[in-house]
């Protein structure tokens, strides 16, 4: 074995991204077609007045969340058992989350444009059913900012819960209320709705809007990323059978 061997850990998460890229595009295409078909079925019983994708597409964030858990729970173990370091994984996972949020955000907003063509053919108005950062589905810039931030928070939230849960069940459970708080703040900064956690109003700016939204999401992402690193830093990779 005389060949020089690279002694530096790759920091760009090429493989994880590629795996998720293909899988996510397939799921997105299926989901978008399903939503368009569903809108058509709904149109048979009632008038279509708002963007169906803006309603039905909301749960897409749960998909990002599950992918985050998968990265934190499974990819972490695989990375370290194959000779990688926790630090190398943490950097890759962070880069992945940002890149993945950008991909999902772009796909989400792209769907509004596909929907616009579809609605144009059918003669339906593509209005919003609730206040968003964007005034109209085709407000590309604002829509993209909002959805990249949503997917970023949800992917990182999944990552945090995945690693925390892997480290310790109690730690994982403790992350759930934290996630709920983060999600409430996130939603508030777009819509002004805070949901059941009304006490949070004391901690958020009086009005939703682009600046509070970006500030809040960067803060949430910073908190999630820091906690994820604290959980990963010296995480023991357990033996599945826990023997010996």
């Amino acid at each position: 074995m005389t060949t020089a061997i690279a002694r530096r850990e790759p920091i760009f998460p090429k493989r994880i991204l590629l795996d998720q890229l293909i899988f996510s595009i397939m799921v997105w295409a299926g989901f978008a077609v399903f939503m368009f078909a569903l809108t058509f079925i709904v149109s048979l019983v009632r008038e279509i007045e708002v963007s169906g994708w803006n309603i039905g597409g909301q749960p897409a964030r749960w998909f990002a969340f599950v992918v985050g858990i998968y990265i934190g729970w499974t990819v972490l173990q695989l990375h370290v058992t194959h000779g990688g370091t926790r630090k190398g994984f943490a950097i890759q996972a962070l880069i992945f989350s940002v890149a993945y949020a950008a991909l999902l955000g772009a796909l989400f907003v792209l769907t509004f444009f596909l929907e616009a063509g579809y609605y144009g053919l059918m003669g339906w108005p593509q209005a919003l059913h609730q206040p968003e950062l964007y005034a109209h589905p085709l407000d590309f810039g604002m829509a993209l900012i909002q959805w990249v931030m949503i997917f970023g928070v949800w992917t990182l939230g999944g990552l945090l819960i995945g690693v925390a849960w892997y480290r310790n069940v109690i730690l994982g459970a403790l992350c759930i209320p934290l996630g709920l708080v983060a999600v409430s703040i996130s939603t508030y900064t777009f819509s002004g709705e805070i949901g059941p956690m009304n006490w949070l109003r004391a901690f958020v700016p009086p009005q939703p809007g682009a600046v509070p939204a970006i500030t809040a999401h960067l803060a949430i992402i910073a908190v999630f990323a820091s906690l994820t690193w604290l959980a990963i830093r010296d995480i023991p990779i357990k033996n599945k059978s826990e023997a010996g």
């Binding site: 074995m1 061997i5 998968y70 695989l78 194959h82 000779g83 926790r86 023991p236 599945k240 010996g244």
Partner: protein
Amino acid sequence: MTPTLSLDTVTHRYGDTLALDDVSLTLSNPGIHGLLGRNGSGKTTLMSLVAGLRKASRGAITLDGQPVYENFAATSQICIIRESGDTTSEWTETINDGLTLARDMRPYWDDAYANRLLDRFQLSKKHKVNALSRGQRAKFACLLGLAARAPLTMFDESYLGMDAPTRYDFYDALLEDFMAHPRLILVSSHHIEEIAKLFEEVIIIEDGRVMLHESADALRGRGLTLTGPAAAVDAIAAGANVLSEKTLGSTKMVALYDVAPDLEERARAAGLETALLPIQDIFVHLTAKRGKD
């Protein structure tokens, strides 16, 4: 190519449980070395610490002088295959996905060899990992360990669940590949009698401590059984370290350990049958005094 693995006063605790107790150990000769110990003796903990999967509570572990924990220069040279097969994911992965990951992560990965092993172990790239039987999963895990060609490779009970013919197939593959690519290979196993002939050095750990570390050939020469008339056996064995004894009528058999160099000759002169004690028996005798786990 063979690195030097060194453990210096390594102690590890899980909460209140002491798993490794002040272990110092150096391995630097290329070879297939056996790490033997009963369940719960600390084998898996030792290997997991060496691979950087856990951080030792105390002490230093280095590979060629480099600390292993969170150090890619060292961990990329180390491959551990644990019994549970945690180098493969069970979510949705196929064998091909597992190979792709190993190819990306393992600096010495040999793809052509991995493909030959797939044929040999009768595995298909299309198989889903979660649909494999326990034995197939063990074969795949061992394949990953062999084809990674890591300078320090550890198999921790990796072939549990394989049937006997498959285990022998694995031993053959292990020996062949070791001879083609000499490196440091550490194997822990409960099938000692099957694999002991491959061992160059043997380390026995007991209650988290290294009880013994020496060459397998020397260890084989250390234990002796004498069989013959009870009186003659007793006369020769007097004062020796007796591990066990059995009698059948007037015939007696004793297992001795660490005998004087001339004892074997004296025993033969006295007409007794002598035999070397296999490593498996030495291991059993040395660790038997402890009760259940």
